[in-house]
Each structure stands twice: as structure tokens, then as C-alpha cells.
């Protein structure tokens, strides 16, 4: 064989054009940035319009209310994003939240002296157990998540109903220190919102910078390929559901602290709102792309719409319709951006030549 290794390279150098300078910008990342930017703009516009109508909307009280109002949805949206990225979905979060919130109340009824950090941990643990049930059924039995979590949406809620048996737990049944958690501020920012921020930052950092985080995207992008690349798909998916459950548990405890009044119906119907927040935030429903920042912004936007409409005194009948229209607009925008990107990729030939 006359061709040496270097010989081959030389010949290739002849057939491929000289280095035309490699494009450096990461298209996917820029696309996401555009997505998040457009959300921020929408949010800004909404706040501006509302404020023009009523300047109290930007009072410190009102901002506090806004931040407080979105914290729980943000936390749930982060968990949901983790799940959706892996091409799954968790419809049971509303039920887990309700179950954990009620359990927290029961805990204080049974052991009034429980310090709130213990309650928090127990709630997160209970949520994680529920998540493990989801994850176990899905990962072990290889059954679509939509079906399983639709089932556990009923099952967990049923357990909650059964347990509560029509009882209600009131603010008076829970310790002051715990309830204050739901209302307290740190440097003017509600503690609840700070918790949500920490959750978003941690999840975002993890997804972006850690191997196992990137593997979640790989799983959602092409599960079969992930398996062949040695990604422990079953284990990761299981972990993601446990995480989603734990975050729903966390949200449940915070719900109890914030609302003070608990019955078995807490969080009913929340699942669609959470999925909506993620979708509005640019998380692709079929996995593989999206960020927790986008989802969190989606959650903030949805809650702000609720508050704005109330302030603008728009007929409350319109509110749900507006949310629906917004979801459609958001996914439409995603589509447009994706089409732009595809066109750009096509224009710039695959070999970068």
C-alpha cells in the first residue's frame, strides 16, 4: 500500500477547500437566548401596559405579590422541564403537590412541635417517593410516561381524597414559624421566590454543565441512540421523575405555608398549567431541547397574566381564553424560530465550506 497516513491527508487537503473560517456561534444556544428574550419582552410589555393603566401595579407590594404568586408554579415548571427534556411528561405533579400539602398539614396536626425544616424535608421525601412510583413504573415496565402519570394523577389524588375524607386543615393548625415562611421577605424579596430562584439556578446549571445533565437532552433527542451510546437511560429517566416528584413535594410544602388552608383539592388541574408554562417557555414537547430558564419565565408570564387581567379589570371570563391564545402564540413563535434556524443551516452548507 503506497498511501501513508499523511499522504491521505494531503490528498484531502486538495479536494476540500482551504479553511474558510469556522462559524463560532452556537446556533442552538442563540436560538434559546432569542426564545428567552422574546419571553422577557412579552413580560415587559405586559407589565408596562398594566402599569400604564394603573401605576400601583409596580408598587413594592404588588411586585412582592407577583413574585410570591409565581414561585410555586416556577418550581413545578422546573421539574416538568427536566421530565419533558427526556421526551416524557409528568401529569401527576398537581396531585403530588396536593398530597404533600395535605400531608404537611396532617404532620403539624399530629406533631404540632415539628420544626419547619423537618416538615420541608419530609414533604420533599414524600414527593420523591411519589416520583419514584412514576419513575419505577415507567423505567422498569417501559411504559409511556403520559399514560402512567395520567394514571397516577388519579391515583395520588384519590389517596389524597381518601385520606382527607372531606376534612380541612386551617392556618390555626400550623405553627406560625411555618406560615411565616410563606409570606416572609428577605431584603424585600419573598423567601418563596428565593427558593424558586435557587431551584431554577441549580437545575439550569446542572443541565448545562454536567454530563448527566447533557445526557437528559440526549435521551430526549433520540432514546435509541442514547442507549447505544451507553447512557443509562432507565436510570436517568427514573431519576428525573424522582426529581420532578421531589420538586412537586417541595412545592406542596410551600403551598401549605403560603395558603394556610388545605383540603384535598389543593393543586387540582395544576398539571396543565405547568405543562403550559414549560411549553410557553420554549421547552419542546417532544424532548431534546429547552431550558429551565425559559420554563421559569413561562411560569412567571402565566401568573403575571392572571394578575394583570385582574388589575386591568378585564372581564374574568376572558382570562382563560387569553392564556390559551398565549400558548398557541408561544408554540407558533418557536416554530418560526426553528424554521429560521433550519433555513440558516441550509444556507450555510453542512461542511462549513
Amino acid at each position: 500500500m503506497s498511501l501513508t497516513d499523511t499522504g491521505v491527508t494531503e490528498r484531502i487537503a486538495n479536494t476540500s477547500p482551504p479553511d474558510a473560517g469556522r462559524p463560532r456561534r452556537r446556533l442552538t444556544e442563540r436560538l434559546l437566548a432569542v426564545r428567552e428574550l422574546s419571553l422577557l419582552l412579552a413580560l415587559g410589555a405586559l407589565i408596562l401596559v398594566t402599569m400604564l393603566h394603573n401605576d400601583r401595579f409596580l408598587s413594592s407590594q404588588s411586585i412582592k405579590d407577583l413574585l410570591l404568586g409565581c414561585a410555586i408554579l416556577v418550581i413545578l415548571a422546573v421539574g416538568q422541564t427536566l421530565v419533558i427534556i427526556t421526551r416524557n411528561v409528568d401529569l401527576s405533579v398537581g396531585s403530588i403537590l396536593g398530597l404533600v400539602a395535605f400531608a404537611t398539614g396532617e404532620l403539624f396536626l399530629a406533631a404540632p412541635g415539628t420544626p419547619w425544616p423537618a416538615a420541608l424535608l419530609l414533604g420533599v421525601a414524600l414527593g420523591a417517593v411519589c416520583g419514584a412510583v412514576n419513575g419505577g413504573l415507567i423505567a422498569v415496565a417501559k411504559v409511556p410516561a403520559l399514560v402512567i402519570t395520567l394514571g397516577t394523577l388519579y391515583a395520588f389524588r384519590g389517596i389524597d381524597y381518601y385520606w382527607a375524607a372531606g376534612q380541612q386543615i386551617n392556618a390555626a393548625d400550623m405553627p406560625r414559624s411555618f406560615l411565616r415562611l410563606g409570606n416572609q421577605t428577605l431584603l424585600g424579596v419573598p423567601v418563596l421566590f428565593l427558593v424558586a430562584l435557587v431551584v431554577v439556578a441549580a437545575a439550569g446549571f446542572y443541565l448545562h454543565s454536567y454530563r448527566s445533565g447533557r445526557e437528559l437532552y440526549a435521551i430526549g433527542s433520540e432514546p435509541a441512540a442514547a442507549r447505544l451510546s451507553g447512557v443509562p437511560v432507565g436510570r436517568r429517566v427514573f431519576a428525573v421523575f424522582v426529581a420532578s416528584g421531589a420538586l412537586a413535594g417541595l412545592a406542596g410544602v410551600l403551598y401549605a405555608a403560603r395558603f394556610g388552608t388545605l383540603d384535598a383539592a389543593a393543586g387540582t388541574g395544576l398539571e396543565l398549567q405547568v405543562v403550559a408554562a414549560a411549553v410557553v417557555g420554549g421547552v419542546a414537547i417532544f424532548g431534546g431541547s429547552g431550558s429551565v430558564f425559559g420554563a421559569a419565565l413561562g411560569a412567571v408570564l402565566l401568573t403575571t397574566i392572571g394578575s394583570s387581567l385582574a388589575v386591568l379589570r378585564i372581564d374574568p371570563f376572558w382570562q382563560q381564553a387569553v392564556v390559551g391564545a398565549l400558548i398557541l402564540a408561544a408554540i407558533g413563535l418557536d416554530r418560526l424560530l426553528a424554521a429560521r434556524m433550519a433555513a440558516r443551516l441550509r444556507g450555510r452548507s453542512a461542511r462549513g465550506a
Binding site: L150, L153, Y161, L272, A276, F286
Partner: protein, 331 residues
């Protein structure tokens, strides 16, 4: 043994068998279950679910989903109320208009899904909120209730001389139509093909987008029909009619053995799934089981319906392997 294995192999057969077992058990052990009157109540309660499950089956088989069905029923119902309240049109005409507006709502879904190429799960979560919101916009806080008694009575009448509600007839006819389309026509073949691999279906000359569009339209039209039925049966048109029904419809379809990923399932299984869900609820209610336990049962049933076949297949594969290994070592 072979029969059992064959039966387990086909989910359709398994679910029909399950239905038979539940009916049998309930007849023996639940008082008042096996009466004509109960059958009438049970079937009447199932009419909306059965109707909505038909187009949903086809849509899920193509790999899409329509979560906005219950909202379309609600909007159909309030439109009917609003027209009756203020248009002065005849009720016949109003019913036709409601079905047509349902089709229009479905067409909006269809345009978003096929025209703009958006995932139906996201689109119909959007229209779930949008249509429900609009149905409150249409009637606001009113409920329209003064529909003529001969109409509201007509939809709950049994077929003379039997205890089967007349409404069962149109349901069966529609089920037949959808069943034939799905299982015995070129369109049905195309639905399965596009559910499994849309691109390959396109290459085989299937107009994937157009077919899906019409499925969403059909779903909307059926929702309009259910809206009419709902309004007349409960003699009440209001914004929150049929709230939350979408999850029950999806549950019934999945219970009927349709794969949520598309490409697999059949209409017989779905009809059996709808009946199973209804019979179980009815029997448990008659047996004074708590509504909360009923919620748990629904959830568990759904999970079992997907986990069990998998577990059975798993066990069978393991047995097969063991037998093979035994043969290998023996020879």
C-alpha cells in the same frame, strides 16, 4: 393454554374478556346492577364518552392527540344556549349550526397542527384553555335551561319496549362508520402508517397533513354533537359543561389498547374500554364505594392496562428463553 396465550396476545380480546368478567361479577354480587333500569342509566351516562372516544382513537393512532375535546363540548353547549336564547332560530337549525361550529373549532386545531406543523399535544392544551375560556365568554354567568321538554325528554328515552336508550343507536352507527374507516379502508391503512412513520407514509403517497386535518375536523364535529346531546340531556347550557372530560376520554382510549405513540390499537378495544370504564364506575357506585376510591380505581386500571401486557410479554419471553436454554443443554 394456546387460547389463553392468544387472548393475552391481543389486547382487544383481553379487554373484551375483562369486560365480560366485570359484568358477570357485578351482576352476581352487586344488588340492582343487573336491571334494565340500571342498564339504561349506565348506557346513557356513557354516550358522551363513547362518542368522543371514536375520533380520539383515530387521532391517537396517527400519533396525535386532541385534549381540547371537552372544551369544544362546553363551547358547543354554550353556543347552543346563546343561539336558543337570542337568535330565534329553530332548534333543529341550531343543532346543525352547533355541529358545524364544532367542526370549525376542530379545523382551527387542524390548521395549527398540520398547517403550521405544531405538536398537537401543545396546540390542544392551548385550545383546551382557549375554548373553555370562550365558552365562559359566550354565556358568562348564565345558564340557559328552558329547552323544550319534548326535546330534552327525547334524548333520554329508551327504545320502546326495551331499556336501551335510543341514543345508543346513533352511537353504534358512528362507531361502525369509524370502525370500518379505520380497519377496512385505504384511509385506515394510511392512519396506521402515518402513526408509525409519517415520512414513510408521505413517500407512499399518503397526504399526511390533509388526513390529519380532517381528523381534527371530525373530532370537532363529534364534539359539537356531544355538546348538543349534553345540553339536551341535562337541559342546561353552561360554560363549565363537560369540564375535565378530556382525561377520561384519553383514559378510555388508552385502556382500549391504543398506543399513545400512535400506530397501534383498534376500535373494538376502545369500545370495550369505554364500556369497562362505565360498568366499573356504575357497579362500584351501586356497591356504595366511596367516590375517592373510584378515583384510585380509575388510575390503577389505566396503569395496569399498560403495565400488564408488558409484564405478560416479559414473563413469556423469559419462559421462552429458559425453555430454549433447556433444549440447548439437553441436545
Amino acid at each position: 393454554m394456546a387460547g389463553l396465550r392468544g387472548a393475552l396476545g391481543s389486547w382487544d380480546a383481553a379487554i373484551v374478556a375483562g369486560l365480560a368478567v366485570v359484568v358477570l361479577l357485578a351482576s352476581v354480587s352487586v344488588p340492582n346492577f343487573a336491571t334494565g333500569r340500571n342498564a339504561q342509566f349506565l348506557l346513557l351516562d356513557l354516550v358522551p364518552l363513547a362518542l368522543l372516544a371514536l375520533p380520539m382513537t383515530l387521532i391517537v393512532i396517527t400519533g396525535e392527540i386532541d385534549l381540547s375535546v371537552a372544551s369544544m363540548v362546553g363551547l358547543g353547549s354554550t353556543l347552543m344556549g346563546q343561539m336558543w336564547l337570542s337568535s330565534g332560530l329553530s332548534l333543529e337549525l341550531i343543532c346543525v349550526l352547533v355541529v358545524l361550529s364544532g367542526a370549525l373549532l376542530g379545523a382551527v386545531n387542524g390548521v395549527f397542527v398540520t398547517g403550521f406543523g405544531l405538536p398537537s399535544l401543545a396546540v390542544t392544551i392551548g385550545t383546551l384553555a382557549l375554548y373553555r375560556g370562550l365558552s365562559f365568554v359566550v354565556l358568562g354567568d348564565q345558564a340557559v335551561a328552558d329547552f323544550p321538554a319534548d326535546w330534552t325528554d327525547a334524548v333520554v328515552q329508551p327504545i320502546p319496549g326495551t331499556s336501551i336508550p335510543v341514543m345508543v343507536v346513533p352511537v353504534l352507527l358512528l362507531a361502525l362508520v369509524f370502525g370500518v374507516v379505520l380497519h377496512a379502508t385505504p384511509v385506515g391503512r394510511a392512519l396506521y402508517a402515518m402513526g408509525n412513520n409519517g415520512e414513510a407514509a408521505t413517500f407512499a403517497g399518503v397526504s399526511v397533513a390533509r388526513t390529519k386535518f380532517w381528523l381534527f375536523v371530525a373530532s370537532g364535529a363529534v364534539c359539537g354533537l356531544v355538546g348538543v346531546f349534553w345540553t339536551l340531556r341535562y337541559a342546561s347550557a353552561r360554560g363549565d359543561n363537560a369540564t375535565g372530560l378530556e382525561l377520561t376520554v384519553v383514559t378510555a382510549v388508552l385502556l382500549g389498547g391504543v398506543s399513545i405513540f400512535g400506530g397501534r390499537g383498534g376500535l373494538l378495544g376502545v369500545v370495550a374500554g369505554v364500556l369497562l370504564l362505565g360498568v366499573l364506575r356504575n357497579a362500584l357506585q351501586l356497591a356504595d364505594v366511596d367516590a375517592n376510591a373510584l378515583t384510585i380505581v380509575t388510575g390503577t386500571l389505566l396503569i395496569a392496562s399498560v403495565v400488564l401486557p408488558h409484564a405478560v410479554a416479559d414473563v413469556r419471553a423469559r419462559l421462552h428463553r429458559r425453555r430454549q436454554r433447556a433444549q440447548l443443554t439437553a441436545s
